[in-house]
């Protein structure tokens, strides 16, 4: 009978002991997450105030970031969106820290991978932001130069430059994020190479006549030079 009771009580004792060991970690995790929520909320509020004071929304409007959000049919203010992104980012970070307090090997690995991935994600965001600004600037410069040169398809050319640069920047960002790097590299090489070959062919075909005239002109000039009589 005693043996039978032990058979029942042992697993319960074991679960109780495990729970006794796990409970402080669980409490620690809960505490970290709750503190994290409070910190994320406070940081969000603070950021919104700083953004407001620094006219961040207006700056985004002028730099074209707002237009980018609107293109994606996102109609919240850029400052509010940034606040929400930071809030969820911090919350996720604290959740990861909280999970590491559970001291479970698998979760620990996940957490360390997450924190190792952060610099890459940050770099990708920076690449996207700077790239978008550079693409916009170069596209505008091309538009102005083409319009001033009397080029008929100035807008099309500017859009093409912007598209090419956007493809390049997206490829760089994805490469940084290590999202299927080989596929991204291959796709980028194919697309970019294809565009360059298409441009080269179209330029070559359209320029045959021009090139012929140039070469003919050069040859005739040389002939004339040879035939010239020098008078002393």
């Amino acid at each position: 009978m005693e043996g039978f009771l032990n058979l029942i009580l042992e697993p319960i004792k074991e679960v109780y002991l495990k729970f006794k060991l796990f409970f402080p970690s669980f409490l620690a995790m809960l505490t970290i997450v709750i503190i994290g929520i409070a910190i994320a909320w406070a940081v969000k509020k603070l950021m919104l105030k700083v953004f407001k004071a620094a006219n961040f929304d207006s700056w985004c409007d002028r730099m074209g970031f707002t237009a980018l959000l609107r293109k994606a049919d996102v109609w919240a203010k850029p400052g509010d969106i940034s606040g929400v992104v930071v809030y969820w980012f911090l919350l996720f970070g604290f959740l990861m820290i909280g999970l590491s307090a559970l001291q479970i090997q698998a979760i620990d690995n996940l957490v360390s991978q997450f924190f190792l991935y952060l610099p890459r994600a940050f770099s990708a965001v920076v690449i996207l932001l700077i790239g978008y600004m550079v693409a916009g600037f170069l596209s505008r410069a091309v538009l102005i130069a083409a319009v001033n040169s009397g080029f008929h398809y100035a807008k099309l050319l500017a859009e093409a430059v912007k598209l090419l640069l956007t493809v390049l920047i997206l490829a760089m960002a994805l490469e940084q994020l290590q999202v299927a790097p080989s596929i991204v590299l291959a796709a980028f090489s194919i697309i970019f190479g294809g565009i360059v070959i298409a441009l080269a062919i179209s330029f070559g075909v359209a320029g045959i006549e021009g090139a012929r005239k140039m070469i003919q002109g050069e040859t005739e000039a040389k002939k004339e030079e040879k035939g010239d009589v020098e008078h002393i």
């Binding site: 006219n55 409007d61 002028r62 074209g64 237009a67 980018l68 609107r70 049919d73």
Partner: protein, 402 residues
């Protein structure tokens, strides 16, 4: 039949004989291939419940030379916006409805505000301005025509005659204003008859010859809400958001173009729309508010042209205006008598008294703050301040219409 006398410094296109609508429309179809036309309709939802809008939609369905209609709908819920979409569905060409109270358009207004661009209060001026922005953003049209949505006597001939001088490359006007008779069993159009014309003429008597006064006096119905203009004018003109919209818009046209390229056209035999009450005791309502805003607009334009105003000047102006307006009443009384129209001289005199009060209030406001301008910045300035705004506006409207 009208006479063919040319009044003032702008061109007047009269209705002579019986002009063929078919001929004008056929020419407009041809010309609109090189100069596509956008029709802007500023509307309140309440106008769709009235008798005017069904007739307007029916007439517009028959028009073949319009490239796109941009209807800006104000004071409407989301459900009402959807109803209006259905209402406009019979029109067989592109119709875009700008949902003024929708979250996307409200965010666009917020974007203006946070970038220091004051677009003023909600109203016809701001609505028309935003609709021009959409036409510019869409880039599909070269000419913009605009008319109100409360015209009870609407016919497509009205629109054809309004658009013809600007759409036709042979005439090549950049701005065309409509005019018409405001007569039923009596004369309407009190603000034009008893305020603007006598005021402009008394200012002329006090200041002497001035190009702006000559320009204003050339318009037979300066408060007409119907006009047509080139897209470039829509880009460079600022628009008042207050009740001085029509006069302020004319002042901008005067500033930005030559009178040789401006015309007015007789668009209708009769014209009937909703009438405003005088509200003589409340300067914030009805024709009194309109009076104050119109006078402010005229004073500010003249001041910007170098005319110096003083308290003494305004006192003289009140007296000069009153005398001029009284003389005008007598002229209209005679005109009504010969045409068998009802004419309440006492009511007309009461209106003149109210307008005199309005001029005094406008003068006071002007003296307190001569710089206070209710003009919405032009689109060139807006795109300079917020480079991506036209794309945002287009996206907002296109998404709302999806």
């Amino acid at each position: 039949m009208a006479d063919f006398y040319q009044t003032g410094i702008i061109t007047t296109l009269h209705r002579l004989g019986k002009p063929s609508l078919e001929r004008i429309e056929a020419e407009l179809v041809e010309h609109s291939k090189t100069r596509p036309l956008a029709l802007v309709l500023p509307a309140l939802y309440s106008e769709f419940e009235g008798p005017a809008m069904p007739k307007i939609v029916e007439e517009l369905s028959k028009v073949k030379y319009i490239n796109e209609i941009v209807l800006i709908l104000a004071r409407a819920s989301e459900k009402e916006f959807l109803k209006v979409k259905e209402f406009m569905a019979p029109i067989p060409y592109d119709v875009k409805i700008i949902y003024n109270d929708g979250k996307r358009i409200q965010e666009i207004y917020d974007t203006f505000k946070r970038n220091g661009l004051d677009t003023g209060q909600d109203g016809k001026g701001r609505s028309a301005w935003l609709a021009y922005g959409y036409v510019i953003a869409a880039g599909n049209s070269d000419v913009i025509a605009l008319h109100d949505c409360d015209i009870l006597t609407y016919s497509r001939e009205m629109l054809a005659r309004l658009c013809y001088p600007v759409v036709s490359p042979n005439l090549d006007y950049v701005f065309c204003k409509g005019f018409y008779t405001r007569v039923t069993d009596k004369m309407h159009g009190r603000v034009t008859r008893l305020l603007i014309t006598p005021l402009v003429r008394s200012l002329h008597n006090l200041i002497g010859s001035h190009p702006f006064l000559a320009f204003m006096d050339s318009f037979r119905y300066p408060l007409a809400g119907e006009f047509c203009m080139s897209l470039d004018m829509a880009r460079v003109n600022r628009i008042p958001w207050d009740w001085g919209l029509e006069v302020g818009a004319l002042a901008e046209v005067y500033r930005n173009s030559s009178p040789r390229r401006i015309c007015q056209v007789d668009i209708a035999e009769t014209y009937e729309h909703k009438h405003q009450s005088l509200s003589a005791d409340d300067p914030e309502k009805g024709l009194m508010r309109m009076t104050v805003d119109i006078c402010k607009s005229i004073f500010r334009t003249l001041a910007s042209e170098g005319v110096i105003f003083s308290d003494g000047f305004f006192k003289t102006l009140q007296v000069a205006y009153l005398r001029m307006a009284e003389d005008t009443i007598m002229k209209y009384e005679a005109d009504a008598a010969i045409n068998g129209l009802a004419f309440d001289r006492h009511e007309e005199a009461k209106a003149v008294e109210a307008f005199t009060k309005g001029i005094t209030m406008a003068a006071q406001t002007f003296m307190d703050n001569p710089m206070g301008s209710p003009l919405i910045p032009n689109w060139n300035r807006v795109t300079s301040a917020i480079p991506g705004i036209l794309d945002m506006l287009k996206k907002a409207v296109d998404e709302d219409n999806r």
